[in-house]
């Protein structure tokens, strides 16, 4: 029977590696003015998160949503966020939800579950009871009621709708065609225009290229559209100004290799990131030709996409005017960082965020 001894001794080895325990969470605080960073996480890994950052105190709360709402996760694959009054709307493509969060508490107020196969990308609002969401994989936008968190209609718009914005009583939807993947399909590279309340078709604007985010600036009265490069072809990319009334392209700033952009509604400027650096464009310039002043190189690159640090999002603090650059790290496998720059391109500071900061909002 002594033969059993080595067997029994070996059995004692099993289970000697303990599971890692969650680290202590950051202390929660209420911030009257803050930045919130949506960390995309990884596709189908269910690990999107929110980071709260208070500029005044330089404090952060990682995993803000999970900390304020114990036992819950924000969801799978963050795509976009939208701040509207005391509400924060977070769009999650794989969870196929829009999470509604109270500001500044961070409490979950509920969520809109979208139909399977929607893959929501971005939201915009027509009025208090009418909102829209673009559905990347459904070639459609859905109208929904933010007061009741109910979907109220589906409207086909074209291949892979991404950016949405409301202006002049119309809904504008940018169909990316997923870059090169569906660029040959009818409606790719086109901005579809619908009535912002009824969803009735109004028209289209054929811009061409890999259309992305869309903003409306009340200060100029125009829409601004991000047209990204379709890598590895880095010769394309631009910021396009659209007239929401005439449905005409007014101006186009060429930014070859563009892959991230944002606008500053206060200063009426746009910022765009390429592998060469961060560019600034003056949107208020009264130049109505198709040859506007070239973008200014504010922060020289290179920002290579083959390193383990890649710029992944841009935001502008509406109060300080500071430019926030969200950096994905570790080949998109490690927690990211946000770098803060002054308007002269000086690096002012950095703070840690979650996995792949994809959108930055402020209140």
């Amino acid at each position: 029977m002594y033969h059993l001894l080595p067997f029994l001794l070996a059995l004692l080895l099993i289970g000697c590696v303990a599971d890692p325990q969650p680290e202590n969470r950051d202390d929660l605080f209420d911030a009257d003015r803050a930045a919130v960073i949506l960390n995309e996480g990884l596709w189908r890994m269910d690990n999107a998160s929110l980071t709260l950052y208070e500029p005044e105190s330089d404090r952060t709360v990682q995993g803000w949503f999970a900390s304020v709402n114990p036992g819950e996760r924000i969801g799978d694959t963050g795509n976009g966020l939208h701040v509207r009054g005391d509400r924060l709307y977070v769009v999650l493509s794989e969870s196929e939800t829009i999470e509604v969060i109270e500001l500044p508490s961070g409490l979950s107020l509920g969520r809109l579950h979208l139909p399977t196969g929607c893959s929501p990308r971005a939201v915009t609002f027509a009025d208090e009871a009418t909102a829209w969401v673009s559905c990347l994989d459904d070639d459609a936008v859905y109208r929904w009621d933010p007061t009741r968190l109910e979907e109220t209609g589906r409207y086909g718009v074209g291949p892979a709708p991404e950016g949405v914005a409301v202006a002049a009583g119309r809904l504008f939807v940018a169909n990316s065609g997923l870059g090169a993947l569906r660029s040959d399909e009818e409606g790719a590279g086109v901005v579809a225009v619908l009535d912002a309340i009824t969803g009735a078709p109004v028209g289209t604007v054929d811009v061409g290229g890999n259309l992305g985010r869309l903003w409306y600036l009340p200060g100029t009265g125009y829409l601004y559209l991000q047209v990204s490069a379709t890598l590895p072809d880095t010769t394309r990319g631009s910021i396009v100004e659209l007239d929401p009334v005439t449905l005409e392209v007014r101006r186009r700033w060429r930014v070859p290799g563009l892959w991230a952009a944002t606008v500053d509604p206060v200063a009426t400027e746009a910022f765009a990131m390429t592998h060469r650096g961060l560019y600034r464009m003056d949107l208020s310039e009264s130049n109505f030709t198709n040859d506007p002043t070239p973008p200014e190189l504010l922060i020289p690159g290179p920002f290579s996409t083959l390193t383990d640090e890649v710029p992944h999002s841009l935001g502008v603090d509406p109060v300080t005017g500071q430019i926030y650059v969200g950096m994905a790290r570790g080949y998109f496998q490690a927690p990211g960082r946000v770098d803060r720059y002054g308007r002269d391109g000086t690096l002012l500071g950095s703070f840690d965020v979650g996995l792949n900061p994809v959108a930055i909002g402020f209140w």
Partner: protein, 670 residues
């Protein structure tokens, strides 16, 4: 004796790398005793003073004489430990972790010593199951029914096996090599599991025999599982996890001393759902399907000329694979519908020369040509890619005995050169030592090898990911260990290992929407393996244990340097116990793995917790004349453990399986 002789020649040709060190000094080249194949005794592989007898019994689990850390899992051990598929059976070896994506028939890949699936070479009857261009094997599609023996060589060995043998080698021996027998099995189980298998090796004549096998397997796999969604725990059933497969083979063998020859025709067809993960209540890929059919023809001739054992083999394989996902609208209104045609032709000539009783030399020349036609290849290659490889290997083993302070010393060295049409040429050397200090059956061994892996076609040419400029991965593998057989019924093995993989091929993003492959990774894997096989009470109680404690660490130098590689647990163990009672045989096993990080950044939130799955089985064997009737009832996951091996891919809970096997043998006609 003829049977033994035939098996000896065949085994020498097919399993030579492991058998060479086991040759008798001063006797026949190799003695292989297959008499214990169907016995119920718990004999151990013996480690005599003058001869190592390689037995085919269930307890010939650890190669006792070679420089390599080797575990052999025989048919009996597979059946008596309740293993139902190939991936399950491999867990009986130390160093093995199976990354399963679901229940029966689902995607399952092998990780040996922390390496990736494509970094272990899989052979079937001595020939590569896939070429270097194909990548990691899906064990979920490999039938177990026709497998007679699985040999797991742990540690890199490119010198003997060429590309992909970074973590080790799995050599599967099928029924084509078995003695005459007839077997039929019917299986029923939970979640729609049904199986019917037939296999036979039938002697037509003293020198001719035919072998055939056929297996049908199906399952709905609609098992319930619980998940946490928006603060609530819900239970739903797995969707789109069904599978259906049919495998068949037919062959002929000719054995007339000193020549043997054979032809085999094999094929399979499978159709299965490819379910995605379950995240926040969403069940992804509910309509994606993968269907595959494959046919292969293999011809072999083996013989002895002027004292040299010669064997040649040629195999042609054709494979068709189709993946559909109507929900994948990113690819267009109809979704994804991709088809791939793969073909490869492989030829091998092997010679074994034993110039004297203290030395053996083996040489191999082999050639393979791989071709892939399909969609989603880089437009620059026009939908078709090819690769040709020509390789040669020289391997020698030298025995030294009557040395001062050492009873016996074995030196084992090999070198291999492969030249690829698209990658250039690569040299893979290895050297091993086995020291037996005294007559006592205790051996110390060490093995070091420089290995490589050629990139797959996908890594080179897949649309928006492939990079035709990438080169090979290189790895240095070191194993030192000991093997001890203190009694006839106990075998212990321990190994320390280290694998340093450089220029690892990884996919990295070059933009938010496109990725590329580059040789920028580096991974170090190191650890301890313990293997135990034994029996007590005159064989009435037997068991095996495979335990591995290891660390697989990112050494690429980035922000994740020093972190654990995803899905490589620090601790793996499989324990199997078999008790032969008066009326029934009772089997139980435990499969355990410690936590696995799911991301290169090892925060606690990215870890999946450890799991332990207990199986329990009852078997009863009735002998009626020449026919053995074996019935077994097993409960898988007895304690209904809720676990995931891969994040968002729930595994089945408790399930029942009933198996009835009819088995008989008959002697070779005189």
């Amino acid at each position: 004796m003829r049977v033994v002789r035939t098996i000896a020649i065949t085994a020498a040709a097919m399993l030579l790398p492991s058998l060479l060190p086991a040759q008798r000094v001063g006797g026949d080249p190799v003695e292989v005793d297959s008499s214990a194949v169907d016995s119920v005794s718990y004999e151990s592989g013996s480690l005599d003073d003058d001869v190592v007898v390689v037995r085919a019994s269930r307890l010939r689990s650890i190669e006792v004489a070679g420089a390599r850390a080797t575990t052999v899992i025989g048919r009996e051990l597979i059946e008596q430990s309740g293993r139902t598929d190939l991936a399950d059976a491999l867990l009986l070896s130390p160093g093995v972790f199976i990354r399963r994506y679901g229940g029966s028939g689902s995607l399952a890949t092998l990780s040996l010593r922390g390496t990736a699936a494509g970094q272990t070479k899989i052979l079937v009857d001595g020939l590569p199951w896939r070429t270097s261009a194909d990548g990691g094997a899906d064990l979920g599609t490999m039938p177990l029914e026709n497998v007679e023996e699985i040999e797991v060589v742990r540690g890199g060995d490119g010198a003997l096996y060429g590309s992909n043998a970074l973590g080790g080698v799995v050599n599967i021996r099928t029924g084509a090599q078995a003695t005459p027998r007839y077997r039929s099995t019917i299986g029923l189980g939970s979640f729609g599991q049904r199986s019917l298998t037939l296999s036979a090796v039938h002697p037509l004549h003293p020198v001719h025999s035919v072998h055939l096998h056929a297996a049908y397997r199906t399952a709905t796999n609609d098992y319930p599982f619980a998940f946490h969604e928006f603060g609530e725990t819900r239970e739903v059933r797995r969707e789109n996890s069904q599978h259906e497969s049919f495998t068949a083979g037919l062959g002929w063998r000719y054995d007339r001393d000193p020549v043997s020859a054979g032809i085999s025709l094999d094929g399979f067809t499978t159709s299965r759902g490819v379910p995605g993960g379950v995240t926040q209540g969403n069940r992804e890929l509910t309509e994606a399907e993968l269907s595959e059919r494959e046919g292969s023809a293999t011809a072999r001739v083996e013989g002895e000329i002027e004292g040299i054992l010669l064997s040649t083999a040629v195999r042609l394989r054709l494979n068709h694979l189709r993946y559909t996902d109507p929900e994948a609208r990113f690819a267009g209104p109809e979704g994804v519908d991709n088809e791939y045609e793969r073909s490869d032709l492989l030829g091998q000539v092997r010679g074994v020369w034993v110039p004297d009783e203290r030395m053996a030399i083996e040489g191999v020349i082999d050639l393979d040509r791989s071709r892939l036609l399909g969609e989603n290849l880089d437009p620059s290659v026009g939908g078709e890619v090819e690769r040709t490889r020509l390789g040669g290997m020289l391997h020698a083993t030298r025995y030294l005995d009557s040395l001062p302070f050492v009873h016996r010393l074995t030196i084992d060295g090999g070198v291999r050169f492969d030249r690829f049409s698209d990658l250039g040429g690569y040299l893979s050397p290895s050297i091993g030592l086995v020291v037996q200090p005294t007559h006592h059956p205790l051996r110390l061994r060490g093995h070091v090898a420089l290995n490589y892996r050629a990139p797959t076609f996908n890594e080179q040419y897949y649309l928006n990911v492939g990079n035709s400029e990438i080169g090979i991965e290189r790895a240095t593998s070191l194993t030192i260990g000991t093997t001890w057989a203190p009694t006839e019924s106990l075998l212990l093995e321990g190994s320390l290992f280290r694998i340093d993989t450089r220029d690892r091929i990884v996919s990295i993003p070059r933009s938010p929407v496109s990725w590329t492959t580059l040789n920028v990774g580096r991974v170090e894997s190191r650890g301890l393996e313990i293997g135990l096989r034994g029996s007590v009470l005159d064989g009435a109680l037997g068991g095996s244990l495979a335990y591995t404690r290891m660390a697989t660490i990112d050494r690429a130098g980035g922000v994740t340097d020093g972190h654990r590689v995803p899905y490589a647990p620090d601790e793996i163990a499989t324990v199997a116990l078999v008790a032969d009672l008066d009326l029934v045989r009772l089997t139980t096993s435990l499969e355990y793995a410690s936590h696995r990080y799911t991301l290169a950044w090892n925060s606690p939130e990215t870890a999946l917790p450890r799991y332990g799955v207990v199986d329990l089985g009852l078997g009863r064997e009735i002998v009626i004349g020449d026919i053995d009737l074996l019935g077994s009832l097993s409960v898988r996951n007895l304690l209904n453990e809720r676990y995931q091996i891969i994040r968002s891919y729930p595994m089945p809970g408790r399930s029942l399986h009933l198996t009835l096997t009819l088995h008989t043998t008959r002697p070779t006609p005189e």
